[in-house]
Assembly symmetry: D2
Homo-oligomer: 345 residues x 4
């Protein structure tokens, strides 16, 4: 493997590697024998840390990836004849290859949401056929924080959605794959934008913010997860050597590593935004509220730009691209990229 593999870019925050402190924590956990499947002191410690953040009464479960956290979380609070209301941009709708439907049996009711954010009105537009046996019955509302378009929900926005959701006998799920980026933008604690704002089930992610693998499902009402351990095992998400996931979360949450990583990624996105927004030919399409910049650029220059920096086209039809920053994005990355972009336009 040659050095050429190190082409940098803005393709995704999971193209980055693992933060060194997390890697060290994993190596530190590599110490003799412990009971497998989570009955070990590393897992105990990481769970305790999570409960310190989200509340002692929560249920905390580690799984391998975000898709699984979403799907298993949803399956715990739904029956197959239920529906999940989500924005059309939701990862569960467009990027999980139908795993939610396959595993839960539920239908996803996806609503157009230009900025990736649900509102009470958008949710209400899907509340048809309640009590009518021919229709799937809405049971869960799912929002993503930060959204797949890089925007964030304020605590008040979440609270309004939660209140409507609960008033209609439903539960609120949050896909928190990039929750760290949202928290630093809002200058909120994790709790303020989850359980504290009415979220019932959370997928808490770390892989896009410096971890290697591992995600947590957080239930804010323990009655919702009494049988989750069986669902996790049957869902093929119970790690035998659990300690290495736990050790990552421990390091992630200790000394605000998560915050430093997310602050950096967001700052780089701001910097990128500032550098490109005034370049003629670049049209930024979404608010830059986390670590992503979305923009329309001339289709003709995309291939050349991609030769030097990884990134994805988000929407072929309107030549919209996505540039993600990560915990290890450097000022040089941005300068190099911006300068190339400028030269191509």
């Amino acid at each position: 493997m040659t050095g050429s593999i190190n082409k940098r870019g803005f393709a995704s925050d999971n193209n980055a590697g693992v933060h060194p402190v997390i890697l060290e924590s994993m190596a530190f956990a590599n110490n003799g024998h412990v009971i497998a499947y989570g009955d070990d002191p590393y897992t105990e410690s990481a769970v305790a840390r999570m409960k310190g953040i989200f509340g002692q009464e929560t249920g905390i479960f580690f799984v391998f990836i975000g898709t699984a956290a979403n799907v298993l979380g949803l399956s715990s609070v739904s029956q197959p004849f239920n529906a999940v209301i989500c924005p059309g941009t939701a990862h569960i709708h467009v990027d999980e290859c139908g795993a939610p439907e396959k595993f839960t049996g539920c239908k996803l009711l996806a609503v157009d949401a230009p900025d990736g954010k649900l509102t009470v009105d958008l949710i209400a537009s899907q509340m048809h056929g309640i009590g009518f046996e021919h229709h799937v019955q809405p049971r869960v509302v799912s929002i993503t924080q930060a959204t797949e378009l890089g925007t964030v929900y304020t605590p008040d926005e979440i609270r309004r959605i939660a209140d409507y959701t609960h008033a209609n006998g439903m539960l609120l799920h949050m896909d928190g794959a990039r929750i760290s980026n949202a928290a630093v933008t809002l200058d909120c604690s994790f709790y303020e934008i989850t359980g504290g704002a009415g979220v019932d089930v959370l997928s808490f992610g770390g892989t896009k913010n410096g971890m290697m693998y591992g995600e947590a499902v957080v239930f804010f009402n323990r009655a919702l997860c009494e049988d989750f351990k069986y669902r996790r095992k049957q869902g093929m998400q119970l790690a035998s050597k659990m300690r290495y996931i736990a050790a990552q979360f421990d390091a992630f949450l200790e000394n605000d590593l998560w915050k430093r990583n997310a602050l950096h990624a967001n700052l780089m996105a701001q910097k990128l935004h500032e550098s490109v927004r005034d370049i003629p030919g670049v049209d930024v399409t979404q608010k830059v509220e986390s670590n992503a910049v979305f923009a329309r650029i001339p289709a003709a220059i995309i291939p050349e730009l991609q030769k030097h920096y990884f990134f994805y086209v988000w929407d072929e039809e309107c030549s919209e691209v996505r540039w993600m920053c990560s915990f290890d994005t450097t000022a040089e990355d941005i300068e190099g990229f911006t300068s190339l972009l400028r030269s191509l336009l």
Copy 2:
């Protein structure tokens, strides 16, 4: 976390940690940006190494764990109205919380097999109702190498099962969670006891032999896995930072690390067997052909023994226990344990 966590034992080969060489390989892969989801040079290298072992025409896919490798492998070669014939001791039958049924829809036809090994006669006993629409239709035979009881199949035994399986329009699946231990016992290459003996789909495991996480599904006929990438994603088993699984397999297969680890674990099991078999009150119940020793011991002494060494009771009713050795079991572990056992009897 106190030092007391380092209680050693014989509970399972996944209570051990990660081999240092594998951890180093993961750290080495932590180098800048690469494309996520497996389109990276680490994965390319590990797949090439696997193809060097199993054949250039094979399909190789990494997943997180053995249960997933089994379930997704089975789902690729079956329809929901099919049945999978397996021994009653199979991990897919007793230790995967119904994941095979849930995910594939298939029924498992589990046959009593006192030594954990299927035979042509045992398989034939399940071949009822072929073509009869009221019955599930047998489509896959699943064997485990080494078995859950520590025994191994010779290449000839596998070949006989494969021939019968294929002659009856079925496919042969192998759960190779401990395939390294079987290979060193038989002094065979991996290929001789898999594709070379007629296996169609293999779960190739490393976690019980010094890896952290990650398993491979190997298809010996690429037509069987044309759509496997979708099944893996929908099955919640596509790692974003795939390079860290690949790096483990690279190290595992390089310089015969897998063999050194398995030889050691097997040797320790032989040593343990030799040390306990003549102790009055100890009745070894299975041939010791890999890294496990099964024995009946007086129920009364089990709690005291477990206070000092981790291990599991296999069958409460007849007071049968399982002692597993691993790549890091030491001669001192065995001496200490044996000496305690002797003193209790």
Copy 3:
């Protein structure tokens, strides 16, 4: 049970009873012993009649209801990671309580289609992420003939959809719950608007046109249904006393009973349309091409109208209602209804 149960109306063509000729045919089949599950001469006869219509090389299978015909037909030609493209008004999308998702695992990609009809452009708008493992893979296009909005596809329109569908490696499914009504409108044979126009799998319905229960799944390529008998049994749709479904289809297809029934229902819809379209306050919203009339009427008069005649509100928000005619709708029904409607406006 009082006489008051005989309130008539326009709620649905399945509020009507069973045509007397069909009931007689069922009674005629009630004759001694025959082998259960379809291996009987009545089933043989009905299947032969169906093959006479659809082609000798077709596969013909009877099930209980239309939802099952749709779901089992779709399950035969898809894998769980596939998607089914359909209009947003499709019965499979809005009226089957998620049975397609639950049973097949597939996602439904529902496209807005104001007249209930898909077009090549609408289908093309869903062809994203082909070959990309994060996305479900479109595999089936499903159209309804006549549509849920009472409109029909011409043979040419079906052929264009079929050609596009096949050119993109997909298959064409038709929900023919009201196919008789479409056939008489178009003055076509069943074959011309199904297999002859490129349809691969058809749900052929009779219950909305004078039968008691029973629907047929028709495969125009027998390779698609080699294992359908197992899917039907596992799908809980194999009737033990199959002869009584067969006897219904026999009578339905003999002497063009299906055609006489459908002609009558369509004629009644035309008559209803003519009677209401010029009443001020009535706004007909869809072309009347089969046995349904859709109209917006003032919300205030709906409850009084429903007191005397059954019918359903189709869209609360715009006060749109659906009036269905059936094989037993009478001129008096229409006159009485129209006169009441007129008096209320």
Copy 4:
């Protein structure tokens, strides 16, 4: 269709036709318009009759067939990680093509039971791994009354099973495909051998006792079926023209038609048993407690016997056959059959 179709036999009670009184009731229901999907006076009447038998607090739901009644009943009281304990002969285990696994996700734990009857000891033998996440969790015990081997459970036997089941946090399901035959043998009311003996969910069958199609799911605790209407629809078992199922149940339960039919079938089985048990070469293998006779006869004579009378070989290996009597079996059938059997031996 020629008269030759009327070959009679002992193959199955669903090879018989429909009792004339039931057919008349269906014709009587063929009267004008009623609301579809069960909101009609015929369904109201049949449900009221069922509640008169089983209790006012029960939940009563009609479906098409017994397999569906079983599967949907089980799905209502289980989660996918649960297990259903049943005898190895259970219809749900051997004759439903894996529908229970496919639809519920559960594993069936099938226990050898030579007379087709579970006992507390047999159930207890499957109670392993409770609370252990690697194992499926037993949640339902399923018994068949009368059993697939023609034997019956006494109310006391059911009560003992129910008590054990409930004491272990499980629920008791009964497959009552032939419950009428059991009730007349035991001279019990339906309630005494179901809810009155501790059954929680019942599949109440009529098709094997003179009905055309239709089965009822009876929940003895309404909390168990709060969402059953959605499961039924999603399970493809909601009949649009429900009145024709209801009309059958009405006639079946009125004037003890069910009892007269079952008494006759049982009497014919007794008569058949008496006629054959002393014929040398005939070895009756099960107690004749309902409408079935099981016997071993020389394999060589089976084909000739089957030429004249339908019946099935139950177990090829030991040449065991099953002879079922039905409501329309005649003394002549038995005399003719016995005489042929005698002549062949």
